[in-house]
Amino acid sequence: MAHTQELRTLIARELPNLDLVLAWTGGFDPLSSTPLFITTEADLDRLAVGPMHVQNLAAYLPSLKGRKVGIVTRGCDSRTITELLQENLINRDEVVIFGIGCTGAVNIRKVRTAVNGAPVTDVEIGDDVLTVTTGEETHALRLQDVLMDKCYTCAGQAPRMHDHMVSERSGCLATGETPPSSLDLLEGMDARERFAFWEGHMDRCIRCYACRNACPLCVCKDSCVAQSRDPHWVDQSDTPREKLMFQAIHALHTAGRCTECGECERACPMGIPILAMKQALNRRIKHLFDYEAGMDQESTPPLFMFRQQEETIKERDAR
């Protein structure tokens, strides 16, 4: 609470110099949250931060280019801001970053599945347990088991850059071993099993493109090849093949740019584990170029440039 109050004070001080500040507030039930667009001090009363306020607010930044925007940011989401700066999609002098020390982000879908989709009436966060009340029943879930994928590979709880910082909070909800990810599961499969895996999951895809629109780095939005008639790479029939084709395009377009913020998978109303495709490509990028997206504002993403001889690809030596 003191943490939130401090954040409110920081924002209130800066607000007169800003068009708006991006933060979070509570959603339709105790497990949900929604982005809050702060323009007046009165809006600050609704501000809330915590492990259940999970949207990556940096996704709004490119569409707000040209306005002076404040943004509340945790460590992982600051990697998105770095990547957007690297790609000149936003201007640093138009963004004011309010950093928070993150303790971990809850994977809301995992929690809802754990309580069998029952309406949630109360949620309490303890040191390592999330207590979820659904009517008369109470479920105690180990926080370690219900965090977002990115928390297990967290590269830093505080943002990599900030203009204002809420006093560091200690503690991290990710304690102990990393549970296996969808990618781990997929890598244990042969090609046929893997194809069956995607065919099964894509069967329920409704082609809403929430994955694309929530992705902070998917900036073609209104001229996406998924709906283009010329080129006609994806047709509109609802077969797993066409749906998977789009996912492959999305993953390839974000290779070496994706910071694995997990918005695509979090946004998917059908719970399809599409982050795994981006993770797979990022592993290749790391292996081929020794590069991770959104870590250094001065570097150029590997697929944005051409070198005759890549340092980590010994193509000539192999001959």
Binding site: G27, F28, D29, S32, S33, T34, P35, F37, Q55, A59, Y60, R109, R112, T113, N116, G117, A118, P119, V120, T121, H201, D203, R204, I206, R207, C208, Y209, A210, R212, N213, A214, K221, D222, Q227, R229, D235, Q236, S237, D238, E263, R266, A267, P269, M270, G271, I272
Partner: protein, 357 residues
């Protein structure tokens, strides 16, 4: 006149399996962490404990429907005439939609006015509609995102259903409401249960008593229309929207479609697929002009259509059944209830202001 039967919970799956010989049976089943309507198969089981993630509308309006198939042939000597052969693909066969909720069933009547009205009869829709029998399960209560009571429905509403199931211990009382429903019930081996009618009614009344007293969204057509020119309001309302299609595709009442030709070499098909008014392409014209260029314009249309334009055209019936799927599945938890309530309030405030002019 009608027929009531008692369906033991454990007998439902074998019954649906048997009906599968005569009908295409669609029922809610688990798919990953979600629940979707799809063709019933015993090994998939059936999930009746919670509202399905996807609505039942695909039974009447499939996400992708082939309107016709075509093949072109060219003569191989001059003057190389091209001829085209069309093969219509009208839907055939009976459909049983089992386990819809009252909101989903009510939505079917919203489609009827559009696709099976006096002016226009869509042959694909009407073929499916006439062949469909809808068995609805009354809800035992409302979830946090439910608001059927605010849009003219209720957790036990039978509008649009052929059979209504009321949950009792260990099973359901099934009451036929239409000719189609009676036909379905007459041919079953389930126990006759006319004696349980009163008990079922009592259960439904108890469920209704639990529904809270809340403001209604009915009769707001004019108020909402008065906000049409207030783009500032819609800008504010839509600010967090990502312009994806989760809300429209999971909406049981959204019925807009796109038509495309999908060629493969010399042959192909013309398909009709769900379309989404939150996408900028929805109104993009051939000239490049877009009458709804921002998400504010599109949000105004989505809310306006459901709560103002449709009810003005169709006897004040809202094009929203209050299932709450658009709220619970939105990536940014956009709450249409707040948006409509805000709009009504805002319109009233504007009216007040003008009264003083």
């Amino acid at each position: 006149m009608s027929t009531a039967r008692f369906l033991k919970a454990r007998d439902i799956a074998p019954w649906l399996e048997e009906l599968g010989r005569e009908y295409t049976v669609l029922a809610p089943t688990r798919h990953g962490d979600t629940v979707v309507f799809r063709e019933f198969e015993p090994e998939r089981g059936i999930e009746l404990d919670r509202l399905s993630t996807t609505p039942a509308k695909k039974a009447l309006l499939p996400p992708c429907e082939t309107l016709f198939e075509y093949a072109t042939t060219k003569t191989d000597t001059p003057p190389y005439r091209t001829s085209i052969e069309l093969r219509p693909t009208l839907p055939e066969g009976k459909i049983l939609l089992f386990g819809t909720r009252p909101c989903d069933a009510r939505a079917m009547q919203i489609f009827d006015r559009v696709y099976d009205g006096e002016q226009v009869k869509d042959p694909y829709y009407t073929a499916r509609r006439n062949a469909a029998t809808i068995v609805t399960l009354a809800c035992s209560g409302q979830a946090g995102t439910c608001f059927c009571d605010r849009v003219g429905g209720s957790p036990v509403d039978a509008t649009g259903s052929d059979v209504l199931l009321t949950p009792l211990k260990a099973g359901y009382v099934a009451e036929a409401l239409t000719e189609k429903g009676m036909e379905l019930m007459r041919d079953t081996a389930f126990m006759k249960a006319d004696g349980l009618r009163q008990e079922a009614l009592n259960v439904r009344n108890r469920i209704l008593e639990e529904v809270p007293e809340r403001t209604s969204f009915l009769d707001m057509e004019r108020n909402l229309l008065s906000l049409f020119g207030d783009l500032g309001f819609w800008d504010k309302t839509a600010e967090s929207c990502l312009s994806c299609g989760a809300c429209t595709y999971l909406c049981p009442t959204c019925y807009c479609f796109n038509i495309t030709d999908e060629p493969h070499g010399d042959s192909g098909k013309r398909i009709r697929t769900w379309d989404n008014c939150m996408s900028s392409q929805f109104t993009l014209e051939g000239s490049g002009h877009n009458p709804r260029p921002t998400k504010a314009h599109r949000m105004r249309n989505r809310i306006g259509h459901k709560f103002s334009y449709y009810p003005q055209l169709h006897d004040k019936t809202l094009a929203c059944v209050g299932c709450g799927r658009c709220i619970s599945n939105c990536p940014v938890s956009f709450d249409i209830r707040n948006a409509v309530a805000c709009a009504i309030q805002h319109a009233a405030a504007n009216a007040q202001e003008h009264a003083h002019d």
